[in-house]
């Protein structure tokens, strides 16, 4: 027998300017059910959940929650407090915790009256400890959030929702930052809570976890609900084609002769206050014509490695060599000059100047070149022609060369950066999380371009949290953990997962 309906979304619509992010989406959630909201990035999953939670006001449609007494109640639009009062809990993709407060304070945050004098922390602690017992989500309560791992922070977020007696829990891409093992334990805990009557909506674009964990799947594409099916009847190719609308295949990895080393780190140590930005005696050799995949959970030194290759940081000890020559004082400029192409992790923050035009962003790294300037004056015509060529060649879609780069979508900003980096035929390419947040189409394009560069003879360092991506693209896999690089020597998911968690296989 099917459990009673607990939540109904009716015809929810949201427009941002001319873009329809959500187009009349209907959804129901039953008590004790796990509903997976599946879709590519930009399909509208997060928008939909933000309307449910009252962060956005829908342009049309309603959210209705059925109380324990069986009475349906419409939530006032755009009111997060009403959603909390209706016992909807949300765990955002980017955590909303205060780093300098303890885990306990974070959980209590917002639940206490501003005017209260006494804080009943003991009762609160007892309740949280009870919740930890029941769910299996164990986390230290007295540590400051800043000292906790990503997995622990996520548990705190979930505990926070449970502390507010959530009946419906919304999880936005909960596994994006977890190791495979951490993800498994999260799902185990959620299963336990669902058995106790909790209803869960979880947003994901990872097919395998959706199939493994959900009861029902709703697929979104371009802001519309394109399919709804029970997980038991679903199969991978069917859902994937629903998601992307057409069959897509990752590029085949053809054999490629590797050549001389183009990028070498020898015993490089970078000491920073923050362990996330430190490297500990790291050695790495990238040859021409190979893609080296750096797997690992973010925050284990990947950003230090990326900054090193970008020329933004200098090693405290050890050497960096490009094509056999030791680089003594790397700067971004010298690295660009030495034909190192850098695709930054945060493309909006480090990749483009949003308020400058697409054309200007395309020449950002080569202002000194003769075809960009003459005697210090910009050659606007040449810059504009150059932009038109690259936009065509790299299929950068948007309002055109003279539009502000900020108006492009994430995928097209990435194509812009690819165009800028690859047009110079770099010897070494750093691709740091190159497909994060991109939809299937754009991600496939990035992968194809990297393959092409590899074939041309470039050496590629691919840093990615997405193990599937590393497995499908990399010729060789190294794992980063706690500032150290370990040669994986295997393509076995489980073995690599263990290395990512810091346990020797």
């Amino acid at each position: 027998m099917e459990n009673p309906v607990i939540l109904t979304l009716g015809g929810l619509t949201k427009r941002f300017g001319d873009v329809i992010a959500n187009d009349a989406i209907d959804l129901t959630l039953h008590q004790g059910e796990v509903l997976a909201l599946l879709g590519e990035n930009g399909a509208g999953k997060t928008t939909l959940m933000n309307m449910l939670f009252g962060h956005y006001t829908p342009d049309a449609g309603y959210v209705e929650i059925i109380g324990e007494d069986g009475v349906a109640k419409r939530l006032p639009a755009g009111n997060a407090q009403a959603a909390i009062d209706a016992r909807i809990g949300m765990v955002h993709q980017h955590f909303t915790l205060a780093e300098n407060l303890s885990a306990l304070d974070n959980i209590l945050l917002g639940s206490e009256s501003l005017w209260g004098i006494r804080r009943n922390r003991r009762a609160a602690r007892a309740k949280i400890e009870g919740l930890m017992q029941d769910s299996g989500l164990i986390a230290p309560l007295d540590e400051k959030i800043g000292a906790l791992s990503v997995g622990e922070r996520q548990r705190i977020e979930i505990l926070k929702a449970l502390f507010h007696d959530a009946r419906v829990l919304v999880l936005d891409e909960p596994t994006a930052v977890l190791t495979p093992q951490e993800a498994d334990s999260l799902f185990l805990a959620l299963r336990k809570m669902v058995a106790n009557g909790l209803s869960v909506i979880f947003i994901s674009h990872k097919l395998h976890e959706v199939l493994a964990f959900s009861d029902r799947i709703a697929v979104l594409r371009h802001g519309k609900k394109v399919g709804e099916l029970t997980t038991a009847d679903a199969d991978k190719t069917q859902i994937a084609s629903l998601m992307v609308g057409e069959e897509t295949a990752l590029p085949e990895r053809e054999f490629c002769e590797t050549g001389a080393p183009v990028f070498e780190l020898t015993g490089v140590t970078v000491q920073r206050e923050n362990a996330r930005n430190s490297l500990n005696n790291v050695s790495l050799c990238v040859r021409s014509g190979e893609i080296v995949g750096v797997a690992g959970v973010s925050g284990n030194g990947q950003s230090a490695l990326a900054q090193l290759i970008s020329g933004l940081t200098r090693p405290d000890s050890g050497t960096v060599a490009l094509a056999g020559d030791v680089v003594t004082a790397p700067t971004p400029k010298s690295m660009i000059k030495a034909r190192v192409g850098r695709i930054p992790e945060d493309r909006h923050h480090d990749g483009v100047v949003g308020s400058m035009t697409v054309a200007e962003n395309l020449v950002l790294e080569r202002l000194g070149d003769d075809d960009v300037q003459r005697h210090g004056f910009l050659r606007k015509g040449a810059i504009s022609d150059h932009a038109d060529d690259l936009i065509k060649a790299y299929d950068v879609r948007g309002p055109g060369a003279q539009a502000r780069a900020a108006l492009l979508s994430g995928g097209n900003i990435q194509k812009l950066i690819l165009a800028r980096v690859l047009e110079k035929e770099p010897l070494v390419i750093l691709a740091n999380q190159p497909t994060r947040g991109l939809d299937f189409g754009a991600a496939g394009e990035v992968a194809r371009r990297l393959m092409e560069a590899r074939k041309r003879g470039a050496g590629v360092v691919l840093i990615s949290e997405d193990l599937d991506e590393v497995l499908s693209l990399a010729d060789r896999i190294v794992v980063m953990h706690d500032g150290e690089l370990i040669e994986a020597g295997t393509r076995d998911r489980a073995a690599i997962g263990l290395l990512m968690a810091g346990q020797a296989a």
């Binding site: 941002f16 300017g17 001319d18 006001t57 829908p58 342009d59 049309a60 449609g61 309603y62 959210v63 419409r74 006032p76 639009a77 755009g78 970008s310 020329g311 933004l312 700067t331 971004p332 400029k333 690295m335 660009i336 850098r342 930054p344 923050h349 480090d350 990749g351 483009v352 100047v353 949003g354 308020s355 400058m356 200007e360 950002l364 790294e365 202002l367 000194g368 960009v372 300037q373 210090g376 004056f377 910009l378 606007k380 502000r404 108006l407």
Partner: protein, 357 residues
């Protein structure tokens, strides 16, 4: 309920219309305190208008007032473009004036073609040095230039006082703390007989044109914009962020210094500590009104100068306080800032049950 939503993009026409509308809104809003002061509104505004446009003299007075504002406005606009918050134009103005006085009162002598450029160069260099300090502190140690450049103003003005009581004091001044007069062949020539308008205005206009070209057409301007809009991306792309900031600091300080040169060598003839009625601070307002565009600075400076000169005339004729000028200028700035907000965002009102439709 009220919702604030970003608009897609802002049209060029809207961008230029906003300050113009804001200027009129500010004048309209100023009618309120004017009425409170007991003045008849329309005659008062008429006095304000003819106070600027009523005669050749009053018009040239307005242009004379606008000259230092163009310089300090450019100083602020260029620095702000690079997100370098130079709040120290007032101090740099005095440094520039002091540089002009140091060179132009008899230290060296020569023909005007030599002396005028030298005096300007000395003032510009002194002004540049005044902003270079805060900029170095910022790039080296991360010291907030808002604080350092602002506080430096007071140090510089006290320093000027000290110099005017000491080494720079004119022995013929009968005890007044003022410098020796600028030599005739070092002074900026007057543009019209019996009017105070001087060639500093020409220099200011040329500076505005050069700044406009530099910002939009050179690699240097490109770097300034990139550093200002996204320093992280600029650094990642190999643009020398610190170098750009230091360069901008020098140019910005030099422009503020030229404001001092133009006042002392074009208008007053000697340096006192009341050389500037806050032109350095007004320059910030001018730059913001202009949306940081150099050509816009010229227009904004003319507007602010008109309000000042017009309000002076109105206060004389109507017997209301001339502080009204400050009020109109402040209201204009607020109106422009609010207007800019409405250009970027739209406000929608939704009922409590906004989800009904």
């Amino acid at each position: 309920m009220m919702m604030i939503e970003p608009r897609g993009s802002i049209s060029k026409r809207m961008q230029t219309a906003i300050p113009v509308i804001a200027a009129f809104v500010a004048l309209a809003l100023a009618a309120l305190p004017l009425a409170f002061a007991g003045a008849p509104i329309f005659p008062a505004y008429w006095q304000m208008f003819i106070g600027v446009f009523g005669s050749v003299f009053s018009f040239t007075e307005m242009l004379t007032r606008a000259t230092p504002l163009i310089f300090t406005g450019l100083a602020a606009a260029l620095a702000f473009k690079a997100r370098l918050w130079n709040i120290g134009a007032e101090g740099q103005l005095y440094l520039g004036a002091m540089g002009a006085v140091a060179v132009g009162t008899g230290l060296i002598d020569g023909p005007a073609v030599l002396m005028i450029p030298l005096v300007m160069l000395a003032g510009a260099a002194a002004g540049a040095a005044g902003m270079l300090g805060p900029a170095i502190l910022k790039t080296r140690f991360g010291a907030d230039e808002v604080v350092t450049s602002l506080l430096l103003n007071f140090i510089i003005i006290i320093f000027v006082q000290m110099m005017l009581e000491g080494p720079l004091k004119d022995p013929m001044s009968m005890g007044w703390p003022q410098s020796e007069p600028i030599l005739d062949n070092a002074a900026l020539p007057r543009l019209m007989d019996r009017m105070r308008i001087h060639s500093g205005l020409i220099v200011a206009l040329v500076a505005a044109v050069i700044a406009q070209i530099a910002l939009s057409k050179t690699t240097w301007g490109f770097k300034i914009r990139a550093v200002g809009e996204n320093a992280a991306a600029a650094r990642h792309a190999g643009i020398g962020v610190n170098r750009t900031l230091l360069g901008v600091a020098c140019i910005s300080g030099a422009l503020a210094g030229l404001a001092g040169v133009s006042e002392v060598a074009g208008l007053k003839g000697y340096l006192t500590t009341d050389l500037s009625p806050g032109y350095g601070y007004s320059g910030i307002v001018v730059a913001m009104l202009a949306g940081l565009s150099p050509i816009g600075v010229v227009i904004a400076a003319l507007y602010v100068a008109s309000v000042f000169v017009g309000a002076d005339s109105m206060s004389r004729a109507m017997g209301v306080s001339s502080f009204l000028a400050d009020l109109v200028v402040s209201l204009s700035l607020i109106s422009v800032l609010i207007g800019g907000f409405f250009a970027r965002y739209r406000i929608r009102f939704t009922g409590k049950a906004g989800a009904k439709s």
